[in-house]
């Protein structure tokens, strides 16, 4: 972890309640896909944790949904504005377990961290399938970006207005070597039920610090208590205790 000041290069609406922000700054030490940054927002006490969508040299891309006052304030920020970020947070996905043909499953605001993951996997020559789940066609983003990486992309919408009607689990291919997923918890549970393959899940939780100090986001696992912010947000399927 480190604290750095980033400058906003771009901040635009890409889908309903969904924004893409490009920041310029020191991106060293956050090379694992699935990590997150914790952003100080003027007027709010707690920082806001946002997953990393992409990193290219000194450019950091975030995609975030306006779910509360903090992210709403972010959406109004202008180009050139500076932000304090804690970077390199969380364990991130372990790409060494991918096998030859990994499957990536993202739901809504869970799609962004899969982008950097897909790019890294493609750079290693993997055959990557991606299923992106949204509620309706207007909410779809990054379908083309994943295709441009050379991924085999399937889109699902709950209302059937685009792609396969249903949830990400309705768009899953038959064969894949491993899976990586991120999305709302009901989706993660559905993914767990729908597959017999091993994989990794990325979880969301309300956090205090984001770096392991406050025990605000702890969950129980097979191997003991884990802090979503520091020991997660990515957990392996076999270690997760699904509480009902």
């Amino acid at each position: 972890m480190k604290e750095s000041v980033f400058r906003i290069k771009e901040n635009r609406n890409i889908a309903p309640l969904t924004f893409l922000m490009v920041l310029e700054g020191d991106c060293a030490g956050m090379d694992r896909p699935g990590q997150f940054v914790n952003i100080k927002i003027e007027g709010f006490f707690l920082r806001r944790p946002i997953s990393v969508c992409d990193i290219r040299d000194s450019e950091l891309t975030l995609i975030y949904k306006t779910v509360g006052k903090g992210t709403l304030a972010m959406s109004g920020m202008k180009e050139g504005q500076e932000l304090s970020l804690l970077t390199g947070l969380g364990n991130g996905y372990d790409i060494t377990k991918a096998g030859e043909a990994p499957l990536l499953l993202g739901g809504g605001a869970g799609v962004p961290p899969l982008y950097l993951l897909a790019r890294k996997l493609r750079e290693e020559g993997k055959k990557v399938s991606v299923v992106l789940g949204f509620n309706r066609s207007e909410e779809i983003f990054f379908e083309k970006e994943f295709s441009d990486l050379g991924c085999d992309v399937t889109v699902t919408t709950v209302d059937g207005s685009a792609g396969v009607r249903g949830f990400v689990t309705d768009g899953m291919p038959e064969h894949y070597s491993y899976f990586y997923t991120c999305g709302p918890e009901p989706m993660l549970r559905a993914v767990k039920r729908a597959t017999a393959t091993s994989g990794q899940f990325s979880f969301e939780e309300r956090m205090g610090c984001g770096f392991g100090a406050c025990m605000g986001c702890t969950c129980r696992t097979v191997t003991g208590y884990k802090r979503i912010c520091k020991d997660g947000p990515v957990l392996e399927k076999e270690e997760i205790l699904w509480e009902d």
């Binding site: 972890m1 480190k2 604290e3 100080k40 709010f44 006490f45 707690l46 920082r47 903090g70 804690l86 939780e205 309300r206 956090m207 205090g208 610090c209 770096f211 392991g212 100090a213 406050c214 025990m215 605000g216 986001c217 702890t218 969950c219 129980r220 208590y225 520091k230």
Partner: protein
């Protein structure tokens, strides 16, 4: 002795700055960021006799100029703290550390304190009789003078290190509790723990925190904490450790002028992990501008007349 040194219950601190329990873990995360040996000491994560998972999540909520937490004393239990955490902690922090203890019965406080008191690394025991986030323990001992005194008296019987009682602000008269602790043999008082509060999710029409209520901390509580430090300083003659929303060098000076011998910094560590380092570095310059030579000279310095 440097300009920042202060005496806490007979032991010298190089600096009055002490990260507060529950906001600094066992120091590891912060030791990756800066040399935490610049701190006076730090109060490690609240320890109970048995391991505790704590409360269900969400445990954290935003508030105006602050936050609510309902972590609920998650910790591995005193035996594991001694066998696993203290040896690891010794690698990143060379000074005596403050052991923060909580419990659900007087016997639990006594047993946990006795075990930690025997550890060479432990310099002080901070006995938390003020956690608002556990049921049937914690704060219930700190809201009556009689039970606060009982915990103090029994812990003192089995310990040799200074015992600092950490008080709750969720009481009618905090000075009565502080006096009761002093009379029962406490070596110091630290205050304030968090103020009990809650938030509702207006869309779901239910509490944000799974525990329903939580403890409010952060800059929002600073004036409340300062007033209580002021009052307790006047009520007792043992050292007072001030805390509650401290987030700048100016706040540290203000707390000490109100009567604090040392100052704990809590939730500010969570939003700005370098805050204790930055305050420590800024203090000498601020002291110069205020005409303060040695920081210990200003303890209670606003109580003239």
């Amino acid at each position: 002795m440097g300009r920042l040194s202060t005496m806490l219950c007979g032991a010298e601190l190089d600096s009055p700055i002490i990260p507060a329990s529950g906001t600094f873990g066992y120091g590891y995360e912060f030791a990756e960021l800066y040399d935490i040996n610049i701190l006076g000491t730090f109060s490690f994560k609240g320890t109970t006799l048995e391991p505790r998972f704590g409360n269900p999540t969400p445990r954290i909520a935003e508030a105006s100029s602050g936050m609510l937490n309902a972590v609920g004393l998650q910790n591995p239990g005193v035996d594991k703290v001694i066998s696993e955490e203290l040896p690891k902690l010794a690698k990143v922090f060379r000074k005596p550390v403050m052991a923060n203890v909580s419990g659900f019965s007087v016997d639990e406080y006594v047993e946990t304190c006795a075990k930690l008191d025997a550890q060479e690394q432990v310099g002080w025991l901070e006995v938390n009789i003020s956690c608002p986030n556990v049921h049937g323990g914690g704060m219930s001992f700190g809201t009556s003078a009689a039970s606060a005194a009982e915990v103090t008296r029994e812990v003192k019987k089995v310990t040799s290190k200074p015992v600092i009682m950490k008080l709750s602000p969720n009481v009618t008269d905090i000075t009565a509790i502080a006096r009761a602790c002093e009379e029962a043999g406490a070596d110091g008082i630290s205050l304030i723990n968090t103020l009990m509060g809650m938030r509702l999710d207006i869309r779901r029409r239910r509490p944000v925190l799974a525990n329903r209520t939580g403890g409010l901390s952060g800059p929002a509580v600073f004036p409340v904490a300062l007033r209580m430090v002021w009052d307790v300083y006047e009520a007792v003659s043992i050292p007072v450790v001030g805390m509650g929303g401290v987030s700048s060098a100016e706040d540290v000076i203000e707390m000490m002028l109100a009567g604090a011998t040392a100052v704990e910094i809590g939730s500010a560590n969570l939003t700005d992990p370098y805050i204790c380092r930055d305050i420590t570095e800024r203090l000498p310059e601020l002291m110069d501008s205020l005409g303060i030579v040695d920081i210990k000279d200003i303890i209670g310095g606003a109580h003239n007349g």
